[in-house]
Each structure stands twice: as structure tokens, then as C-alpha cells.
Symmetry: C2
Subunit: 409 residues, 2 copies
Amino acid sequence: MTEPLPHCQAAETLADDQLPAGFRFGSTACGIKPSGRPDLSVITADRDAVAAGVYTRNQVVAAPVTWCRGLTPTDRFRAVVTNSGNANACTGPRGEHDTARMAAEVAQRIDCEDRQVLVMSTGVIGHTLPMDKVVTGIDAAIAGADHSASAFRDVATAFCTTDQYTKLHCTTAKLSAGTVKIAAIAKGAGMIQPDMATLLSVVVTDAALPMAAAQKVIADAASASLNRISVDGHMSTNDTLLLLARNEGTACSDAEDLSTLTDAIAEALIDLGKMIVADGEGATHVLCLQVDGATNDESADVIARAVGNSPLVKTAIKGNDPNWGRIVSAAGYAGPKIDVAKTSLSINGVEIYQSGAPISFDAATLSGSMKSASDVHIHLTVGDGPGQSRFWASDLTEAYVSFNSEYTT
Amino acid sequence: MTEPLPHCQAAETLADDQLPAGFRFGSTACGIKPSGRPDLSVITADRDAVAAGVYTRNQVVAAPVTWCRGLTPTDRFRAVVTNSGNANACTGPRGEHDTARMAAEVAQRIDCEDRQVLVMSTGVIGHTLPMDKVVTGIDAAIAGADHSASAFRDVATAFCTTDQYTKLHCTTAKLSAGTVKIAAIAKGAGMIQPDMATLLSVVVTDAALPMAAAQKVIADAASASLNRISVDGHMSTNDTLLLLARNEGTACSDAEDLSTLTDAIAEALIDLGKMIVADGEGATHVLCLQVDGATNDESADVIARAVGNSPLVKTAIKGNDPNWGRIVSAAGYAGPKIDVAKTSLSINGVEIYQSGAPISFDAATLSGSMKSASDVHIHLTVGDGPGQSRFWASDLTEAYVSFNSEYTT
């Protein structure tokens, strides 16, 4: 069997009392992955709870996305079952049937209706699920589920596909009625340019949230975080981000509480998003892009995406090359109006292009600073407008190409 | 000195009588390129002629693009001077001054006005031109210019930057008043996703064309050819395509003649476009994409571009992997409406996805056919609408990444 997957730093030190009460976590290796690694997990709520989701905007969607879309937001949530190693995407009516059956198998074991169970799948596209293994896995995952930190960590592990380490983030938010806990999981690591959410991510909180509020919280948090990352600009068929909350306990309902909770969740998802980008297939750097001076925020976002997705920019960063011409020209073709005479650029705090013209800088020193750290900070000003955006992208390496030209053949 | 650049097949067999009369071709190595390869050329018209151009739509444009835009279309064209090895882009007022001086140095030597001389530059962004070398080069290129096939071929060579071979195409068009000759040059090989024209390309014909007609001919031909290719989806700052024609000789003015001429030029430019893609940095395959069934042609074009620019599709083709999931999912996120239930895909004539579901096929045989030829034919149907598009893209290889992460550092 393959070596166990390493954990992110937050997972290493996770304690039981960091997890929101009211949810149980179970996982197993049921044999979907040929490697024998964990590939099936279940998160259950002890009683009816709240779930809200945001999903891929790809028109080609996997069966579990269609299933979840029809069921969220809800205040009758009882469980979400997730398999990795197989996306159950482009699998036609058989795929839809298998998704419904996964929900039914869980529902039967925890005594609820099928429609109270959500389903997520991630992995290779176009293969039907080995349902006998899946059902055995559901049985084992539910039987072993508990409230512990190690169980939560194991669920994060069972989400992973080509990820090189698990990704979780636990935090708290101080609401007017008390402090609530937030625990979030995500997985990457290729076909990543979410337009509503990343591949798979679940946020669990013990805040008591009305379901409409939960939907707004997770949509707002996603647009500030996971919607702003890219590994390869290819939007997945399976992107799903779920927020699981409670119907009871610490209330979160006034505007200030909702804003506090949204910010805390967005921060957790930015941390997870950066981990996904850093763990992008073959990635050696995270491009941390800040664009300002655009006509509006939407324009800034389009420009940031164009820069972060340019193969010429991404290969330059891989080579620790402060190649400003590639960055400025990508901003120039992105689409939104820019003011070339007011365009300036700095990398890692060093100004290298100012008011539409290059300025002299110590290229060797700057290249050294790019080489010495994983994060490369690119700050691009494209005029004097109010629009700004942050975006995180991985660089492009030979290893990305090798990996993805050998993935299924 | 570096080895001489190989020629494309058409260049090997080029004869003097394939070239349109009335134009002279001169070139030299003036030292802009450290390699010592040819880097400066001049094409002159024996008397006032017609020139029309299409240019990059990047908002960040090189000084020579701004110069040419202000002067075309014209019926007083006398010369175009071109340097490679330095794009004269993002060089501020100094760059504009250097472009004007290049025109003036040519004008002085052939006895015309500065405004009768067009200028093109290609190469690295952000460095000012070594004008002493450029002026010496202009002197030598004009002194040696003649009507010969070898001189024309040498101009094609002097256009090249990271190209691995010269790219030219000679053909004829039968107009009502007689047969005209068409000779075209282009160069690639990175930062290629033209939105009006490719990096640098010149088409010379002995047809007598009114200048407004020339503008329409070259714009129409470009949109069917060079506007439909991509190496890396990164639009250049310097893209320029010029059509040079005559004020006298075989008339081309009625609608049928113009259509015949446009088609002949488009075919020449498709051939050159495919050469550019095949010679894309590190490329091992040309993805020949045909999309049909879209709502309209524009939608089909957007879908074809999304597929041709997806790093996951490009790496799959590099690995001879008929990974239909990546192709179909790229169509799904491109933007335009697709009808998933009527979506079908074939690669090299083998149907592998039909009406929204995978069908069984011999993957090993299909992979073998992809491996055995440079062109990979991808035919994607996305519904039953009338919209269709053709698009040509290079695959993505480790060599592209290596090359572009080492380009300036």
C-alpha cells in the first residue's frame, strides 16, 4: 500500500475541542482508489441541521452536483457522503442513479430520508462508480464515525485525489451571543479555476443559522476566497463547497454577526485556497496577485485572472524571472480598459515598471528573493480607478506537464 | 556564429517567377541578435503601392504598431522595415522616436517621405533598440535588395525570433483580368494568440487593389486564418499583418475577384498559421479543432478557443491521450450555451463520446494514431445549431515550460 498522505500544519496540531459540536466524522478506504488510500467519508449531523452550497458553473456537471443543487439550502440536513478517486461525471443516467443510491444507503443507516443526504464525488471523469465497494465503504465510515479531531482529519484525507497533503483550517468567530467554531476542509489539486467554489470543500460550524442566511454567508465567503484561485484555468465539473451549520445553539442572525461569520469563513477558505494553489500539480510558487486602479472590482478581477492564467507569466515565475513585459502585456489583453500611462508594477515590493515605462532595478537580487520563498507577491496598478482584486495562482512547471500528460494513459 | 535557420518546404523550392513583380527584398544581420543571425529586413515597392494592415488588440502596444496604425490603409506605400530580436515594446517616448527614425532612415535612402515607410519589430519586450546597429543594417539591407526568390527567403529568415524554421507560402489567384501572384511570410513562435493578426506577417501581391478593398481583403482573410491560432493564449504587443499590393497591373475590384483573392490569401495564411502552431515553443502536435452545432459562429469560436487553450487538454494531446473528459468539460465552461445531451466528440475520426455519454472505443489504437502524426483532429459537436469554427493550437510540453522559464534570466 502507498504511504499515508502527509497533513498540513493545522491538521498536525488539531485538538478535539476545536471542532463544532453536533457533527460526526467517519471515513474509510473502500477500494475506489487503486492505491488503497482512503476514498470514502461521511459527515453526519446529530439532528436536523442547516446546509448551503455553491457549485461549479460548468454546463457539464457531475451527477452529485445536480443532486446537491436541488437540495440546498436546507434546514433538514443530516449527512454528506463523499467519495474520491472517481468524479461520477459524464456518466449519464447510470451516474444519477448511483448518486441517488449513495444517498439512500446513508439514509437507511442513519434513519432519515434520502433527500436529507448530500453527495460529493471527485476524481477521474467518465467512469461509473464501483457501487459494491462504495456501499461497503458507507457502512464502515458510518460505523466508525465520531466527534474526534483524528476522525475529522481522516475525512480531510479521504477527500484528496492528486493532493500531496491534507488541507484543513479551524478557527472561531465572536458573535454577539458567544463564540462559534468553524472547521473547514478542502482538496485540490488540478482542473482548478473555480467559478463558484473549488473542487470539494466543506465548512462546518456550530453557529445556529437560518438557511437563507447560510446561503448568503457561503456565497459571499466563496467569492472572496475560493473563487479567486487558479491552478490551470480549467473549471471542474464537480466543484462543490458546502456550509454545514446548526438549527440550535449560538444564534447568528443580525447583520453584524453574519458579517463577522462571513469574514471568518472567508479567511479560512483563503488559507485553504492558498494551500490548494501551493499544492497545484507540479507547482513551486504561489503567485499572490493584487490588482488595483481598475475601473471597478469586476474589471480588476478579469485582469488578475488573465495575468494569473498566462502560461508565459506562470513559466517566468517558475524560473524566478521578474519578466514584467509578460505581466503588463497580459493585463493589456485581458479586456477591461487600462490606463497604460498610469500602469505600474512591483514584485515582492520592488518597483520594476512605473507609469508605463520600465525603471532600473537589481534583477539578480529580485530573482533571488523570488527563488527563496514560495509566495511571490505581484502588485499591479492599471490606472487610478477604485477597482481592486486579489487572486492566487500556481506557477507552471515541467512537472505539471509530465503529470498531466500521463494521468490516464 | 549559430547555424543557419532551416527553411520550410515551400521556401526550399521557391523560384523567382513565383514572386509578384514590383517589390524588392533585402535583409542583413546587423547585430541586434547576440546569435549573429539575420535580424533586419526591408521590402520596398518600385513605385507608390497599396498597404493595408491588421494589428494586435492588446492595449499595451509596441511603438511600431502605433506608427503603422496611423498610416494604413494607404496607396502611397513605398517600404516596410522590420527588425527581429527586439520588440521595441513598453519603451515609452524613446521607443516612438526610434520607430520614427527607422522610417526616416529608409525614406532618406529610397527618396520618399517618412510616412510612406511602415515599421515592424519583434523580440524581447522592454529594451530600447541599438539604433547605431539598426541604421547600419538599413543601409546594408537596402543596398542588397532585389527581386529574387533567395532575397525573399532571406527576409523570411530575418523575421524569425524563436522560430525553428522560416515560414513562407506562395500561391496564385485567378481573377477576371488575369492571374495574380501572392507571396506571404510569417513568424511565430511564442506569445501567440492573435486577435487581429499573428506576431508578424506580410502578404505581397501584384494584384492592383484600391486601398479600401485591400483593407477588407486582409481583415477578412485574417479572421479566417491567423485569428484562429494559439500557441499559449497570450496576445502579443506587436502582432502585425500587412498586405502589400499594387496601384497598377491586374485589376481586382469586383466582388467576385475580391472574394477569390481573399480566399487565396486566407488559404496561404492558414498554411502559415499551422506552421506557426507546429513550431510553437516545445510543440509536438497541432490540435486541429472543428466545433459545430453551436448557437452561432461566434459561440463556436469561443468554445474552440477554450478547448485549444486548456492546459489539461494540451497536456493530454502531448501524451497522446484521448482524454475526452477534459475536452468536453472545457466546452462546458467556455461560456456559450451548449446542449450537453447533443454533445459528441471524435478524435482522428474515432467517435469517443456521443449524445452526452462516453462510448466504448479502442483507446490504445486511437492513442497510437495520435502518436504517429503531428496533426490531431478533434471534432466537437455541441448541439444542433448552425454555428461552427475551426481553430489550430499547439500542445503543451515540458520543453515549452523549460524554454519560457529560461527566456530572459
